[in-house]
């Protein structure tokens, strides 16, 4: 049994098959939501971003060409939507503290050191300039290559490498301060 692949699903959706569109939604909803959550750290915002992403996706579906990979294309929509969202919604320090708050509230009273480090790391990532933050989240958070991340962000591969380098320097510094 050969599985249906994304390209076929997308073709079907483009041709107006609503079942295919529903399957695209089901297939990618969690991916989109998780990236959105990592970006903003607030469940409700991540839900809103995910919703927005899929509406945009429907609108733009016809412009999607097989030349770019669907993954790259979708990630780009997520990142752009998340950025727009952050702009609308006060400043990013709000995210930083919201993330810590939400992480704590899911597990009040007891946070062991290991988890605390993760939470701090996220807080530090949220403090980074947006361009470094997106590079870090795509490369380290989603496991993409610098090249793939560059395609999503729309810059040169070396630029991504540079931003990662810069970001890591900052993270390292802040990590050392905490210890």
């Amino acid at each position: 049994m050969e599985p249906i692949d994304d390209m076929e699903l997308i073709d079907l959706a483009k041709s107006g098959n609503s079942r295919a569109m529903e399957d695209l939604f089901e297939t990618y909803y969690m991916t989109v939501y998780r990236l959105a959550y990592k970006w903003c750290g607030i469940k409700e915002d991540a839900e809103d971003i995910a919703q927005e992403v899929f509406i945009k996706l429907v609108k733009k579906l016809n412009t999607f060409s097989q030349k770019s990979s669907f993954k790259t294309w979708l990630y780009r929509i997520v990142i752009n939507t998340a950025k727009d969202f952050a702009r609308q919604r006060a400043t990013k320090w709000a995210y930083e503290s919201a993330f810590i708050h939400q992480q704590r509230s899911t597990n009040p009273g007891h946070i062991e050191k290991d988890r605390l480090i993760t939470i701090r790391l996220f807080a530090d990532i949220h403090k980074l300039p947006e361009k470094q933050k997106e590079a870090i989240l795509l490369v380290f958070g989603e496991g993409l290559s610098h090249k793939e991340a560059a395609q999503i962000i729309g810059c040169a591969e070396t630029t991504v490498s540079w931003r990662i380098h810069q970001a890591r320097k900052k993270l390292k510094k802040s990590h050392e301060l905490e210890i």
């Binding site: 249906i4 073709d11 295919a20 946070i111 988890r115």
Partner: protein, 639 residues
Amino acid sequence: MNKDEIKHRLESVEIPEPGQDAKERALKLTMAEFNRLPTGTDQKNIKGISMVGRLIGKLLKGGPAMRKPLYISAGLAMGFMALIIVIIPRAGRFGSNLPADMKVESLLRSYSPAKAPQSKLTNHSAPSPVAAMRAGKQSYKDIAAAPMIKGSKRDGFQDQTYVGRDRFENFKPNPVQLVSEAPVSTFSIDVDTASYAFVRKALNRGVLPPKHSVRIEELINYFDYAYPIPGDRNLPFKPTISVFPTPWNPDTKIIHIGIKGLEIVPEKRPKANLVFLIDVSGSMQNQDKLPLLKNAFRMLVETLGSEDTVSIVVYAGAAGTVLEPTKATEKGKILSALDALRAGGSTAGGEGIRRAYDLAVANYDPDGVNRVILATDGDFNVGIRNPEELKGYVERKRKTGIYLSVLGFGQGNYNDALMQKLAQNGNGNAAYIDTLNEARKVLVDEAVSTLFPIANDVKIQVEFNPAEVAEYRLIGYETRQLRREDFNNDRVDAGDVGSGHSVTALYEITLVDSKGKLIDELRYSDDETADKSGTAKRSGEYAFLKIRYKIPGTQASNLITEPIGTAVEYSSFSKVPSEARFGSAVAAFGQLLREDPFIKTFEYDDVIAIANESKGKDEFGYRAEFVNLVRLAKTARSM
């Protein structure tokens, strides 16, 4: 903080599940937008009869996906319904109770139904849970076959619960049964221990494990119990039974059934033909996955005898044979092949599992143990995507004498439900490896028992005496229930007992004269009928135990029977042998974690007290670790 650590932390951060309503809203809005736009409308017109012919042709072939949506009037569709349902075995994502015309309409609307959507994007680190769930749970189940599996829980993939990206099968605790209505309880034994390791991992992180990850029988069976082994060497095991007051309920009693398998002395053990099937996809690169896995297999290789052989197959981007069958005497060759494994590769697929089985077949030893050991974090992109198909494949291979063991690694992506199903269907065991210590326990200390079965298809049936027992419930084994008639049917598969394995089952019973009965007596029940039908009131006998098992390699089962009565009863809990007391403590712990309704005032501290007193020799410190876990559970918060 180095690269890997950042990666690991970004991956392991806990992400709250999105609200179901938020997701539904998003889907509705998305589809509304989809239907509003011109792309979604231009082809939604009625097509002629000729399309039906093409449709059926395509469905039959299962070929390239239907490119165009179809709409066929209900009348026309009805005419074709029977035909379609018969010829498309995998058509249904819809329950069979939908009105027939709706079913057909939906079916016709769908694109090629034989295919599960595959996500390229998410394969990168994991198959999309949604897609996988759909494939497993609802989408592509057999319509035609549905009535046959109905009522047989063990065959179907049931609902699953997501915790992060980890997947667990949903189940409810076994209900209290009225002996007068259901006097017989039947289940398959379970020697898996995966649930315990998963619970431990969660508690060590300071969170309570998700309820559905707690399978009480696996917690109990994690521990080795020193039950007596049979004096008669022809018997693979013998049951050890005791009855005693329930520690958490003064009005009920516990029936404790323990089985300990004979230990095969290492020199006498059969040759092993092992194929490691190792997931090396990108998601395996965390410290607690591939690196741990390598160490675990290294330890296993060290324990092998000179006649044993090992092969290694990996899957990720492409499945590949890393090591052809190699004798364990060439240890260096095996170890260096293991060392060379790297996580990477993002796409799914390959022929991983087929290739592993092919190697096992190529090197098949009729007198030996032939086993594929699958190690993964839950990314089952092993070439067969549909879980039902995968299950069927493993089951067919089991019949050829090749068994499957499943070792789970890591968190965040762990597909517990599928692992369990696979191991059950492959006559294997599923274990979850969270630490090197656990790897040692599973692969070294218990290597003999997990690799060499001494009894296959072990089923337990207990018949309760209505004259003594009013109500009973089986603690745990929810996912292992068998039908009453399955007990004597040798074609029905069940769990295996390995050399030296111990298996424990507990029933909580309420006696006829107890005031703790949960179910009211019937006002109109006819007591006399029971007497007339000749039910002898055999006082002093609570129940009758029957165990069926097969000697490995044989097809006909053997039967062991034993009455359960006052002869094995202890009047107070403190007099009970420590093994049974410890088992009860673990059972109580599992029920507390699951918040089962049957435990009322019993608390974690009570569990600690019993466990502490019944630790026994505890050579490897597993029981002491248990006590620690209970302490952690006291302070942990729910996820």
